[in-house]
């Protein structure tokens, strides 16, 4: 069963047009420890791709390779048809403006207020100068995540769910074409989780992003997924939409639905 699924995945990734991210036979080790043994996948324009997998399987490592925080040992990784390992510093900067990354911990800058957090990418990356325009964009994106009244707060005064929302707002403020979500709902209560999942859908509609959503929260996967990949031991073992995987017979895949 697993074998047929893998074959299906590999046949899927072969140069289908419209892929914004195309990964082929990606390998990554830390010292002697092999984390990604052979990863192949594509993310197509406008889709929400959910990656399921237990902790420590290398999901975060895989998406960190996409933004260049980590470099693969071998294999090909194309974003917008450009091989990322050939990019110069300048080209990376341009590419990163088109990719949003929501960290597992939200990674808010804790010495800055919410407003300064959101201002940071506008003034440093887009080099905006006009105070009024900056303020307007901040308010617009905060309204989008429903936290306009937190604008003066420090990150330490925010709850986990609020931090995720602000992290999302800080990423979306640059209007990325690709969004990478690293466990957006982990550690949140079910109600807040659902709100975040719905927010992801809303933002996708509003900004037409293509997204990779890493999670092991099936409620989140059910709401957001157009397609699901299951990662195990450093490679993908199954693919399908929510209903296909739920009704499948693979032991590993079924264990996520329990």
């Amino acid at each position: 069963m697993v074998k047929t699924l893998v074959q299906k995945i590999n046949s899927n990734v072969v140069n289908k047009p419209g892929a914004v991210v195309a990964i082929k036979h990606l390998k990554k080790s830390f010292g002697t420890k092999e984390v990604l043994s052979d990863i192949s996948m594509s993310l197509y324009k406008g889709e929400n791709l959910v990656v399921l997998g237990k902790s420590g399987q290398g999901k975060s490592v895989a998406i960190k390779c996409i933004v260049g925080l980590l470099t693969q040992d071998s294999g090909s990784l194309k974003v917008f048809d450009e091989e990322v390992k050939d990019l110069s510093e300048k080209e990376w900067k341009a590419l990163r403006m088109k990719i949003g990354f929501l960290f597992q911990s939200a990674a808010l800058y804790d010495s800055m207020t919410v407003e300064q957090n959101l201002e940071f990418p506008l003034t440093r990356v887009l080099k905006l100068k006009d105070k009024q325009e900056i303020r307007q964009r901040i308010e617009e994106v905060l309204e989008g995540v429903g936290l306009l009244d937190a604008i003066e707060k420090m990150p330490s005064d925010l709850s986990g769910g609020m931090r995720k929302r602000i992290g999302l707002a800080r990423t979306l403020i640059l209007k990325p074409e690709i969004m990478l979500y690293d466990e957006p709902t982990t550690g949140l209560d079910p109600i807040t989780s659902r709100e975040i999942s719905e927010l992801i859908m809303e933002m996708q509609k509003k900004y037409q992003t293509s997204s990779i959503i890493i999670t092991h929260d099936m409620a989140c996967a059910k709401i957001t997924a157009d397609r699901i990949l299951v990662m195990n031991n450093g490679s993908f073992e199954a693919e399908g939409n929510y209903e296909q995987l739920e009704s499948g017979s693979d032991e590993l895949v079924r264990s996520f639905f329990k």
Partner: protein, 258 residues
């Protein structure tokens, strides 16, 4: 592969190489457009103003104690009138810069190491990089430059307070007038003594900022590494200061006093 050198040597060379690369990144980013004036001023305030009382008290007590300690000995030779100039010269040329730098290594290097270390661990530095902003320019350049400017100023202030301390001590025993004390103190001091003394505090300032930033910025994953970064920042900054001082003494004796 044949091992020609022990593994500890290789790690030492790799570590030294990493420091050179980091130093290169610092120098390259000083002159990039978009210098972070606000952050630089904020760091100067934190590094300079918040160390005032510690450095001031240390300086005052330094002069006070040195005077009290040397007076009995000098009295045996009937040379108490040399005490003010002796204390002034030794504080300004050697003791002041080194003691203040070591104290600042404990206070400033460790706090920079811990701050950047926790930003690294909580992925804030990664978040800056991924958004397309320049974390070296924002975090590292500002902190190192603030140290380069504030450490010499703090040392000069400590020198001045050490002379006050010296006056207070000798006034307790000898009832010298302030005018007499300070004219004696300055009598042996040449302007040429100040230049190498200030020059070396600039290098001490660089060492304090650089080591703190390097250790924090390159800390490992996991929360315990924040403590490790802070601690090893103090240890290596202190070592840098001692070594730089030895070099400075050699250079001044070659150039200034021949």
């Amino acid at each position: 592969m044949v091992k020609l050198v022990p593994a500890t040597w290789t790690t030492a060379f790799v570590a030294a190489g990493d420091q050179v690369v980091f130093m290169g990144a610092f120098f390259r980013n000083i002159f990039r457009s978009g210098f972070e004036w606000n952050e630089f001023l904020r760091q100067s305030y934190i590094i300079g103003y918040k160390s005032l009382s510690l450095v001031g008290i240390t300086g005052f007590i330094l002069g006070f104690v040195l005077t009290l300690q040397s007076e009995p000995t000098m009295r045996e030779f009937g040379a108490t009138s040399f005490v003010p100039s002796m204390v002034t010269i030794s504080v300004i040329r050697e003791i002041g810069p080194v003691i203040i730098a070591l104290i600042c290594a404990g206070k400033i290097s460790s706090s920079i190491g811990a701050e950047l270390g926790s930003m690294k661990v909580s992925e804030q530095i990664d978040a800056m990089e991924v958004s397309g902003a320049n974390p070296v320019q924002y975090l590292v350049v500002t902190r190192i430059l603030a140290c380069i400017i504030m450490i010499p100023l703090l040392t000069l202030m400590a020198d001045a307070l050490a002379m006050m301390g010296g006056f207070a001590a000798s006034n307790m025993n000898n009832h010298l007038t302030a005018t007499l004390y300070f004219s004696k103190a300055f009598s042996a001091l040449r302007f040429g003594d100040l230049i190498p003394a200030v020059a070396k505090t600039i290098f001490f300032g660089f060492a304090i900022g650089f080591v703190g930033c390097f250790k924090g910025y390159n800390s490992e994953r996991g929360t315990e590494s924040v403590g490790v970064a802070a601690n090893s920042a103090v240890v290596s900054a202190s070592l840098w200061i001692i070594v730089l001082d030895a070099i400075a003494v050699q250079l001044t004796s070659v150039f200034a006093y021949n």
